[in-house]
């Protein structure tokens, strides 16, 4: 897997198609909402098989970038430097989103909540297969025995795992995570990060790439292949830093902080975040 820092838009003769190993490309994406200029000229290529983290000052537009990837928001069409575009390969990858809050439906059981992602929209799973898929996803996050519980009977960390199971049940190719463990205490957060890493490394169900928005430099460096640093609003890409840590990561996850490449990358990111431009 090639991991060089390429953040220029991919220009191919077809115009709208992307490079063969791209899953999604943001090309010159600017975004203005209610006269607020949030994003400016974002060019970002998400490749198959990579874990990308997005960091930046709070409120800068990290979550908005994810919403562009989900097509919940559309980039400005009349930017001075041309229209922004979200470009996919011929077939749009299935995308799943994990929010900062678990966003579980309190009236559904844990199983029901996981099945929710399988029972909505044009691509919904046939009824007869939902239960099996939901239970497999719960098994994956270690909560199968809680299938008949209701969300409020579970702790915050468990709820967040249910939310992850719900997202994974739909078998996304591109997993988008918006500070998924940001509301949890550090211990739980570390456990869940390690679990996520293991899921990511043992992937068998079509998961190709992960994009995670985070506030934590540790999370960004220990988990991802590339870290995208956004500037303050209107956010542009300040830099993209490759993380030179060996893969798979889960084996060395607990003591990754003691390694030199980890510390150097953290230091590099700190400098980038504090730089004025």
């Amino acid at each position: 897997m090639q991991l060089s820092a390429v953040n220029a838009p991919v220009d191919s003769p077809g115009g709208k198609s992307v490079g063969r190993d791209s899953l999604l490309t943001l090309q010159n994406c600017s975004l203005t909402l209610n006269d607020t200029h949030i994003l400016r000229n974002i060019d970002l290529d998400i490749r198959k098989g990579e874990f990308v983290s997005i960091i930046g000052p709070s409120g800068c537009g990290k979550s908005t970038t994810l919403r562009l990837m989900l097509e919940l928001l559309k980039p400005d069409a009349d930017d001075r430097s041309g229209a922004g575009e979200v470009i996919f390969p011929e077939v749009r990858p299935r995308r799943g989103m994990a929010f900062q809050k678990p966003v579980l439906m309190p009236w559904l059981t844990i199983r029901g909540n996981v099945e929710l992602s399988l029972s909505l929209g044009p691509q919904k799973t046939p009824q007869s297969l939902r239960r099996g898929k939901a239970e497999a996803a719960l098994e994956l996050v270690g909560l199968l025995s809680y299938a008949n519980y209701y969300p409020k009977q579970l702790s915050g960390g468990m709820q967040q795992r249910v939310a992850l199971a719900r997202t994974l049940a739909a078998e996304p190719e591109l997993l988008l995570m918006d500070e998924p463990f940001g509301a949890l205490d550090e211990m739980t957060r570390n456990t869940l990060n390690l679990e996520l890493l293991r899921l990511w490394e043992n992937r068998a169900n079509g998961l190709k790439s992960i994009v995670m928005v985070t506030h934590s430099l540790h999370e960004a460096v220990s988990l991802s292949d590339r870290v995208v640093v956004l500037s303050s609003r209107p956010a542009g890409i300040r830099t993209i830093i490759d993380v030179p840590l060996p893969k798979p990561r889960s084996a060395g996850f607990v003591c990754v902080e003691e390694t030199l490449p980890y510390q150097q990358t953290i230091a590099k990111l700190r400098r980038e975040l504090q730089r004025d431009d």
Binding site: L70, L72, M97, K101, V103, M105, P106, W107, L120, G121
Partner: protein
């Protein structure tokens, strides 16, 4: 060792506290009432003793109660179905809300007592005018609470559903509707007691049966014991109605969140 008296009592005793305490209190009140009527020689047309009120509860009262009960239930049912339906329209079609909301407010601010005679003129002295009065008074709280409930979904849930490209129908049935239930349930509880008020106001204006009619007629004849029996019957309808809804609420809306009322 901990003080034994400060330990929580076994569950079986506590479970019936909510029933036991009011029952004991009400019994004491009734005894005090009975005794003081006797001691102070209060004339029966002013305040009949509870035993006299009990005597006045005959099969006639049951028939009248049945009439009021039916009016109440029909009014409640119609108001709730209509109120919820209009709420769904409000939430999905902005022009409907913009045009109908002021009308709904006007309806709410018009005193029912002022409308009741009109209802009798239009619908006659039978049950229909009382059902209408009852439905009118229930309609507004149901509408407001249902709209509030249907709008109570948070931005994240909405985004979650949109991420899966859920259709409008799916968003309605799997998100809006269940999310609105705690609010709708409080609306039902509020309107349950209002429904009785509506029916009785209707009966005051023009009727030949029902508890409101009994109260009115007995006041002409100073049959205060009969009046009391009708008042108690009306109160009982409201209470029983509320209790049933409360039980349904607790059983089915188990996820009930704070702030839904």
């Amino acid at each position: 060792m901990t003080d034994v008296s400060k330990r929580p009592r076994p569950g079986i005793l506590r479970r019936y506290d909510a029933l036991l305490y009011p029952l004991v209190f009400i019994s004491l009140l009734l005894v005090a009432w009975e005794v003081s009527v006797d001691i102070f020689k209060i004339p029966a047309y002013m305040l009949p003793a509870p035993s006299d009120v009990l005597d006045a509860m005959d099969s006639d009262l049951i028939n009248h109660t049945w009439v009021t009960l039916q009016e109440t239930l029909w009014g409640f049912l119609i108001a709730n179905i209509a109120g919820f339906f209009v709420a769904v329209m409000f939430v999905h079609f902005r022009p409907v809300e913009l045009s109908l909301f002021p009308v709904a407010i006007a309806l709410k601010t018009t005193p029912l007592v002022a409308l009741a005679p009109l209802l009798v003129v239009w619908l006659g002295t039978g049950m229909a005018s009382k059902v209408a009065a009852s439905a009118l008074i229930c309609f507004f709280p149901v509408l407001i609470n249902s709209v509030k409930g249907l709008r109570s979904i948070d931005a994240e849930s909405d985004e979650l559903f949109r991420t899966y490209q859920a259709s409008r129908q799916e968003i309605f049935w799997k998100l809006r509707l269940p999310a609105s239930l705690p609010y709708v349930m409080s609306a039902l509880k509020i309107s349950s007691s209002l429904a009785v008020v509506g029916a009785i106001v209707g009966e005051f204006v023009g009727a030949n049966a029902g508890l409101g009619y009994v109260v009115l007629v007995s006041s002409y004849h100073l049959d205060t014991d009969v009046m009391f029996s009708a008042i108690f019957a009306a109160a009982f309808i409201g209470l029983a109605f509320f209790w049933i809804l409360e039980a349904i609420d607790r059983h089915f809306i188990f996820w009930q969140q704070e702030g839904a009322d």
